[in-house]
């Protein structure tokens, strides 16, 4: 075990991947010599060559299109989109192509080799275009997998699983935690199964669920709730697609209450899907309406970021409301 921040953990997962397969390529804007604007790919070009770790021209649709082609050829294609806010020019290539490649061809061809990494999320004074959490835009797309890690250990294990998974995976990295989150991470290879949520804290009064950077926030809220004698069960969803209905439903059947929290705007965020499914699965167990604590329905602001975000206080309020309903 070694102490790593999230960038190191990601770099380590990429390093193992590159060593494992001579055809694996890493590419995106500035990922080459410079190692990416966040330095996640630092040192990899030097180690594996410019032909396998390279800068692309500045075109997200091109990056995703190129990645689809390379993955279809059979090479592990690990593309970086510099900020999740800039993934939208690639939307067609991802939603209409990556996601439908295997199905439309009757499995004659597939892009299971594709992994798209991209930093997401706010809390860094990034404003409209360096703060978005666009996971829900992709969650409506059968054929994709979507993963979000909460800390370095999770990041390495989930990224390795995402790369090895035989389906196209979008891997959202909580950039606010890139350097801030530090922990013990094995240097050797390991994977964490996709599609499985994790109960990170057991509790009995209310289930609180999030993923990625938002885990830190709901943990803080749970601490506050504990001071008031409320016992919170905390779940990290980890995979958005597919998501672990069973673990969540089992928890809610036990606690009778659920609070879901995400940074993205509330309307049609992935919280909506969780609520819709869980009210179905747990109808007779619910003791209060399922609450969502999310970003407001506005573009991501700057000066009033503090007011905008679903912070621990807001989550705490929702917990109290749920318990007192």
């Amino acid at each position: 075990m070694k102490t790593m921040n999230m960038l190191h953990a990601i770099n380590s997962a990429l390093d193992i991947t590159m060593a494992e397969n001579d055809h694996a390529c890493i590419f995106g804007e500035d990922v080459g010599y410079f190692g990416g604007v966040f330095r996640a790919t630092s040192g990899l070009q030097e180690k594996y060559g410019k032909h396998r770790v390279f800068n692309t021209p500045l075109t997200e649709q091109g990056i995703a299109g190129f990645a689809n082609g390379l993955a279809a050829f059979g090479a592990p294609a690990i593309a970086e989109i510099q900020f999740a806010d800039y993934i939208f020019p690639a939307f067609d290539q991802i939603v209409n192509e990556s996601a439908k490649f295997r199905y439309r061809s009757g499995n004659e061809f597939n892009v299971g080799n594709l992994t798209i990494r991209t930093p997401y999320g706010g809390g860094i004074a990034g404003g409209l275009y360096h703060s978005q959490s666009p996971e829900a835009y992709f969650a409506h797309t059968p054929g994709l997998k979507i993963v979000v890690p909460r800390d370095p250990y999770q990041a390495k294990g989930l990224l390795r699983a995402a790369i090895k998974d035989d389906n196209p995976v979008i891997f959202f990295e909580p950039k606010r935690l890139y350097r801030a989150s530090v922990g013990e991470v094995p240097e050797e290879d390991y994977s964490i199964e996709l599609g499985k949520a994790e109960v990170v804290q057991e509790g009995k009064d209310v289930t609180v669920l999030a993923w990625g950077a938002q885990m830190e926030i709901i943990s803080a809220a749970a601490e506050k709730a504990k001071e008031q004698g409320i016992s919170v069960e905390l779940i990290d969803l980890r995979s958005i697609l597919p998501w672990d209905v069973e673990t969540v439903a089992n928890s809610v059947k036990k606690t009778g209450r659920l609070v879901v929290s995400h940074e993205a705007p509330i309307t049609n965020g992935f919280g909506a899907e969780i609520v819709a499914t869980i009210q179905q699965e747990c109808f007779l167990h619910l003791e209060s309406p399922i609450a969502r604590v999310c970003g407001l329905d506005t573009p991501y602001p700057l000066a009033l970021e503090k007011e905008y975000i679903p912070d621990a206080l807001k989550v705490f309020e929702a917990i109290k409301n749920a318990v007192e309903f």
């Binding site: 082609g69 279809a72 050829f73 067609d92 199905y103 059968p142």
Partner: protein, 405 residues
Amino acid sequence: MTNPNNVSLNISHELAFIDSHALNIPTYRVLNEQGGVSEGATVPEIDQATALKIYDTMRFIRALDERMQAAQRQGRVSFYMQCLGEEAAVTASAAALDDNDMIMAQYREQAALRYRGFTLEQFMNQMFSNEKDLGKGRQMPIHYGSNELNYMTISSPLGTQIPQASGYAYGQKIKHINKQSGELDSEIDNITICYFGEGAASEGDFHAGLNMAAVHKAPVIFFARNNGYAISTPAEEQFAGDGIASRGVGYGIKTIRVDGGDALAVYAATKTAREHATKTGEPVLIESLAYRLGAHSTSDDPSGYRSKDEEASYRENCPVARFRTWLVAQGWLDEQEDEKVKEQVREQILDALKVAEKVAKPPLEDLISDVYNTPIPSLQAQYEQLKSHIKKYPDAYPITAGRIK
């Protein structure tokens, strides 16, 4: 270019604009419109077997197109798209490739697939989306694909295959790169050809795909089929430059324009392009000029946007007839024999159609297979629910009800 701006740096003190059509772009042609060898042209090296296979393919596709167009009119198939007028461009370019080269087509390139050996039965199964369709009955007619034949399954969204071709070709190149030097250390064995229309070339994906292939040296032949129309939109409302060829220089890509009605010119140009790509890893742009003689698709009626006169004037210049004339002059083709084969092909097509339309539709599990490599739990649950539903109301789902396990 050794400056950071990556440009040629020849200083001038004259305030002068480069003209909007500054480039001189010839159109390469071997056979004249009557099928004779043009004066001054050299016939490219081509063996009899290849020439006849090209002709056989064009003849087959012409017959298939005719037959399926009619089948659509009769309501037997829901949709069809003809290659009419572009047979030489598609077939002769495919003929210049190696069988293991990847073909990424737009949708009007059935001749390339046929050249590779896609069987009549396979064409039919796809169009009738029956259970024998390699694509499992999921896409509209003409969305063929075959892993075995290295023909990427057609995707309706236009232009998306262009950057994909760059990525695929880059993959083909990797093993030829010397890890130390980063340079090629052997001739690339297989490359990718990417076909697209002059309409699709307006998509952002075109720009991304060509630029990335040029920068990363991906061995792709970009084959632009400029056939004058994108559905109803004439080429003059599609671009203001000199065709698609004028864009090559903007990407630093070697480019050639060919007469797409001339199988020999297309064959020679593509062969040379392939050689360049395998030796250097660099992409090449070929623009083929032909005329979309038929309707855009069976959903289209061109009389709403172009004149019969225009159509008629291009009908005379038939690429199949042109090549046939040359083959006959070569003594490689017998006219009477040709007519006989045509008749046989027509009959075979009709027979195959009758067979394919009776083959069962895909089973219910193919509704959910291949979304992922294995179904995710939620989808599996949806499937179980659907099965119970169909079992409850079998009459409402006649295609699948009888076959549910």
